[in-house]
Symmetry: C2
Subunit: 451 residues, 2 copies
């Protein structure tokens, strides 16, 4: 696969050098927009405007959408006004809005100037919706039918307007005041008789979202109900747009990435890693590292308080890392499971007692298994003596139980009070569990060893 | 929302008790299959067969698919043979296969007995594909057209067969030997003239997958090319099925969950948390905890080797947790970023040098920032003296750099040699980084403090 792509790059570069534009065009038109965009990202930047001009209008617009924002900006800077206008006219409104959001101010000005007045108005309307809301990701290009249409009218209307719409697979039925009153799949239209009334064959029980709903809610609704698109209504129930499944898939992937980043103590970024500057990566990571470093010093304070005890029994120090690591791992197993369950809506706040009871039993089993294994190792391999082995293993059981209970409870409480549960994941819980396990360790040691 | 649902449950229960079946039916038919399934999961198990019988055939099948496997099993046990047959006849083949895979052997036997011979044959064919392959998640119900059809023929063919197909949004064009030669969206059909030939208006450059491709590849291809369905071909290029976007979305979510679980040192499970038994959760977690506990004892061994040094300078012990935690957090920031980048195909193996160089610069910035902050704290708050502060901060810089380099390199190497990069995430890297940071710590201490 990689080899084949490299060959293609060499071929294309040679063809450009030899000015074989007809051949280049013949190769490009057999390719898919997403693949052309990948290919373009591998080629020298200077040849892009030239190659781009070889593409037929529609394929050019599709390719443009698939490219990353740096390449888009570079291309726009090379476009003449009429070329820019052509591309913008071909874009779906939601893609045009994404583009405007990514570009620097001077490029945005040029884009809006070249867009036709109606498109410009729609772009500006959509830009007003809050970031990551349904309104900000919807498209205003959908097929709208009226209840009194016959199926023949509907097909005529689709044939007239459908070519410019993002999808015709689901058509939406509205009253004259634009209030959404039903939906009709293209399948139902094809299977119906020509003189059936839209109002008779439409589904009235329509799943919809509101303009201000979070994009994650929108994507989850599309997933839950297996929809290809979902209508977006404003405060008065008027249909103002639709969100299609391809955009919802991207949202779900983006949200999963964000959760993963938060769990690893990184402020999420929506740029791909290789396109992000070193400074930006640094700024997304360092606040968390500082915060966690400072909170980790609490464990240092605990150790200092027991300096005398440790000096008397230095062997105890050797088990601190194992106890801390096992506590951290046990806690993050629970927290990550619960955080993902919350994100997928498999776990809700009202399940908190069920979750705690389940984690309690799991942690008992895990804690005892680990303690037994460790006890045998301490006695027969490390030969530390029964007393120290007992101190370590008792601490281990308590640590695992505490870690798992904190790990499952904190994310659920965070969610309840409106915080992001993913931020509560491993690093915070680790710090907390570290402190508790050390306190337990020294407490148990003081009791059993009398130091 | 929750309140409304609770009300509905009370109402439904009261209606069942008063035998108001007509009213119950009237309520149920206004609802969506996914919502009915949620409602059913909240009701007493005994009333389910009764309520289920009130649903119209198609809605009943849709609801059945949305229910979890325990409830499905319970319902099937309560079904008469003819009821079971009715439900199976309404299921899409891919859903029937999922059902057969989830049920215990005796139930599977009953299901296959009630399925009509053609369905049974198709189920058995699909069961032969390896788990998580394209073949195992595809459906065999798609619309197939021939190149010599006119658009009028195509519409007639869709009207005849479309009602039983999972999707008609994209139709596939095959030669008489079933070799895939093109695809035609329903949009193109609607917009075309009645006497246009399918071969003239079809797209010939079809994105497809093979039966043995991994389900993640299939889902990524649907996402990359913004498809609603992708055709699946066998070794000879014959069209044998399609995978629709709704199933791909579920696969992407499932794969993200698996990666998250692996990163947190849990063996992935595909059952929702609340439906998983305590024993099963325990078994998915304990092997990793044991393994990591054993590897954490290496850090213990390192500490024991330096027991004498620590006894002389007990203060050094107080900073062990902070150094270990910061190393762990730094490493998992890098590993998690790279693992997710690999999963989303934003990072490839050939980028390894770029990634290492980027992480090197980020880690230098992070390490120096943390060291400066920590140095000031050590001098002015903890008042430990310049020498110890220097030992701690020098170790900190080295630890952060090593942690980030290991964190970004290990997952990429793992992927290269065919291991799962997600398994390489935080816990393993933490153990490795712990050992390295302790060795560095004692080495630096020996040099600077002369102990």
């Amino acid at each position: 696969m990689t080899e084949r792509k490299l060959d293609l790059i060499t071929t294309m570069t040679a063809l450009v050098e030899n000015k074989r534009y007809a051949t280049l065009r013949d190769i490009l038109v057999t390719m898919n927009a997403a693949d052309i965009a990948v290919l373009f990202s591998e080629l020298e930047q200077e040849v892009l405007p030239l190659l781009f001009r070889l593409l037929p209008k529609e394929l050019a617009a599709e390719t443009f959408v698939e490219m990353d924002s740096d390449a888009q900006e570079m291309l726009i800077l090379g476009f003449s006004d009429s070329e820019l206008k052509e591309v913008i006219d071909e874009l779906y409104i939601d893609d045009a809005v994404d583009l405007v959001e990514e570009m620097p101010a001077n490029v945005v000005k040029r884009i809006l100037k070249q867009a036709d007045p109606d498109t410009r108005k729609q772009i500006n309307e959509l830009l007003k919706y809050p970031e990551d809301s349904a309104g900000s990701i919807m498209t205003t290009e959908f097929v709208e039918l009226r209840p009194h249409f016959t199926v023949a009218d509907a097909i005529k209307s689709i044939r007239r307007s459908g070519i410019d719409k993002e999808t015709i697979n689901t058509c939406y039925v509205t009253q004259p005041d634009r209030k959404l009153c039903g939906q009709l799949s293209i399948r139902a239209i094809i299977l119906a008789e020509e003189d059936d009334m839209v109002s008779d064959i439409m589904e009235q029980n329509v799943i919809f979202v509101s303009t201000l709903d979070d994009q994650e809610t929108v994507a989850q609704r599309l997933q839950k109900y297996d929809l290809l698109s979902v209508p977006v209504v404003d405060g008065e129930g008027r249909l103002v747009g639709i969100v299609t499944i391809d955009d919802a898939v991207d949202v779900l992937q983006e949200e999963a990435t964000e959760d993963i980043e938060k769990m690893a103590a990184i402020t999420p970024s929506d740029r791909p890693y290789l396109k992000t500057s070193v400074l930006s990566i640094y700024l997304h990571r360092i606040p968390w590292l500082l915060l966690l470093m400072i909170s980790a010093t609490f464990t240092g304070i605990i150790i200092m308080r027991f300096e005398a005890a440790l000096a008397a029994q230095v062997t105890l120090t050797a088990f601190i890392p194992m106890l801390m690591d096992t506590g951290g791992n046990s806690g993050s197993q629970s927290s990550v499971t619960v955080i993902r369950g919350l994100a997928l809506q498999e776990i809700r706040f009202r399940d908190i007692l069920k979750v705690i009871f389940k984690e309690l039993r799991v942690s008992l089993l895990c804690g005892l298994t680990l303690a037994v294994a460790n006890f045998l190792k301490l006695l027969f391999l490390d030969k530390v003596g029964t007393q120290i082995a007992a101190v370590v293993c008792l601490t281990l059981v308590i640590t695992v139980i505490v870690a798992k209970l904190i790990g499952c409870t904190l994310p659920m409480l965070a969610k309840k009070i409106g915080f992001d549960p993913a931020v509560m994941a491993s690093p915070f819980i680790t710090t907390l569990v570290d402190a508790i396990s050390l306190l337990t360790y020294f407490q148990v040691a003081t009791l059993l060893l009398g130091i």
